[in-house]
């Protein structure tokens, strides 16, 4: 083990010159860097040395480049600053975006959309074996849909797209679908995670599986189980095949906490509110059925 460590340590030079192999080796070394302060300092200094190598070959770019860069900068929005650098997963918790909880009508729409994608993926997959597994999957999804406590949540993904989650706390299952997601290169995948509430146990991060490849901006629904009340759903981009713990900054954080179990009164008030709104509008009929 110590030998292996020293081996890793010897890679600081190659790393600083971008001369590591992409993939496993780079990942292993980056992980090591997070723990090894000496290595980080060494890499930082080596990068300053590399800077002098760059100045050695400095060359004046064509003058048009300046115009183009300035013009592009003038119409490019800058990224907002990161509030906490290198935050760990547990530090996401306070920064959760507001979740948009959809009313029942939207749930019905989602159900139709989910069913349509399931049918589509069945049509697209040729073999009968796939048909069977798709059928099993669509039955499982139907079971989540049919659960009396089924509801949906959705969240915007950094970099574009929306992830919609259909979940049943009772069945402890959820169905995840992405729309308008950016297609990833073949060696990358979207991975979803469930993170327990921070106060309970050790804020466990569990992989909830990989999203299937994006086809035409859509991913077919993915069933995940083991949902615990108070969970947060997160999504990261990981190397193909997925990882056991997230290695990149999440591009989606979505609270799945059930409002009903936490505060029954609030829920009732919400429902009343909704009903009031609908009464005011006086356009919707039949969607206000109370359970």
């Amino acid at each position: 083990m110590p030998l292996w460590r020293r081996d890793l340590h010897a890679l600081t030079g190659a790393y600083a010159l971008d001369a590591l192999d992409e993939g496993a080796e780079t990942r292993r070394f980056t992980r090591h860097l997070r723990r090894c302060r000496t290595c980080r300092d060494e890499v930082r200094r080596f990068r300053e040395v590399a800077t002098s190598l760059a100045f050695e070959v400095a060359a004046l770019p064509p003058p048009e480049l300046r115009e183009r860069v300035m013009a592009a900068a003038a119409r490019t929005r800058q990224l907002p600053p990161e509030v906490a650098r290198e935050r760990r997963f547990r530090f996401w918790l306070p920064t959760l975006p507001t979740t948009i909880w959809l009313p029942r009508l939207a749930l019905a729409t989602t159900a139709v959309a989910v069913a349509a994608v399931v049918v589509l993926s069945v049509i697209l997959s040729g073999t009968s074996q796939r048909l069977n597994s798709a059928r099993t999957q669509s039955q499982a999804i139907a079971a989540v849909l049919a659960a009396p406590d089924a509801r949906t949540a959705n969240g915007k993904v950094t970099g574009g797209g929306v992830v919609t989650v259909l979940l049943s706390a009772e069945k402890r299952e959820l169905v995840v679908t992405g729309t308008k997601l950016a297609a990833l290169p073949a060696d990358k995948t979207y991975q979803i995670w469930l993170i327990g509430p921070s106060l309970v146990q050790k804020s466990v991060i569990r992989s909830a599986g990989l999203l299937p490849p994006v086809v035409g901006g859509l991913t077919s629904p993915t069933l995940a189980s083991g949902l615990v009340s108070g969970d947060i759903l997160a999504m990261t981009v990981e190397p193909a095949g997925g990882t056991s713990q997230p290695t990149t900054t999440p591009i989606l954080e979505l609270s799945l906490a059930s409002k009903t179990t936490k505060a029954t009164k609030a829920t009732k008030a919400d429902k009343k509110n909704q009903a009031d709104k609908k009464d005011k509008k006086a356009t919707s009929k039949g969607h206000t059925s109370t359970t």
Partner: protein
């Protein structure tokens, strides 16, 4: 071993800013709050090494220009994320530039499956080196430090940095073991670091 003089700037070869001109670290801080004029100044100071290193790796002028534009725009876009604790602004910008150039090379090699040329020996043929960037004194110093490397170290560093090879590719090319290449690169960088007085 690390006789660091607190008064010595971290980056020996970077010229001191002209009177009234801010250095890249100060400029980048202004860029982060959306100062376009600061970005122009930063461009003037750093576009030669950015373009130069990209061109050294990619060779093709048109492609280099394209990548340089991407890099400089990324500097503008992500200036808000720059963390001075992790190094100088100059090193940050040039790390992005080198990374992008290398990414481009590797993506192309992967796509075309073609062999890379081994033209490392023809180093130092840039005709349009911007002397305005490095004062002759700084240049002398860098060259002296490069000259202080063993031939094997210089070869490995040149192949990795200027040709954009991975250390595995360097190893295959020069017929030395992987661990030999790793040490050559690291020892060479340590020697240069001490010679340049990087703090």
């Amino acid at each position: 071993m690390d006789q660091t003089d607190p008064d010595t700037p971290g980056l020996a070869p970077v010229p001191p800013p002209a009177p009234g001109e801010r250095d890249p670290d100060q400029l980048l801080r202004l860029v982060a709050v959306g100062d376009q004029q600061a970005f122009e100044h930063l461009y003037r100071q750093l576009s030669p090494p950015v373009y130069g290193v990209i061109r050294r790796v990619l060779r093709d002028p048109a492609q280099s220009e394209e990548v340089a534009q991407e890099v400089l725009l990324e500097v503008w876009r992500t200036a808000t994320r720059f963390d001075p604790a992790l190094g100088s602004a100059t090193a940050w910008v040039l790390t992005i530039a080198h990374r992008r150039a290398v990414d481009r090379v590797r993506a192309e090699v992967a796509a075309a499956g073609r062999e890379q040329k081994t033209d490392w020996a023809s180093s130092g043929t840039e005709d349009d080196v911007a002397d305005l960037v490095l004062t002759s004194l700084d240049r002398e110093r860098v060259q002296r430090c490069v000259g202080g490397l063993t031939d094997a170290q210089r070869e490995s560093i040149t192949l990795a940095y200027y040709s954009g090879y991975t250390y595995r590719q360097v190893s295959a090319l020069v017929g030395a073991t992987l661990s030999a290449i790793k040490s050559r690169i690291r020892d060479g960088l340590i020697s240069m670091r001490d010679c340049l007085g990087v703090s």
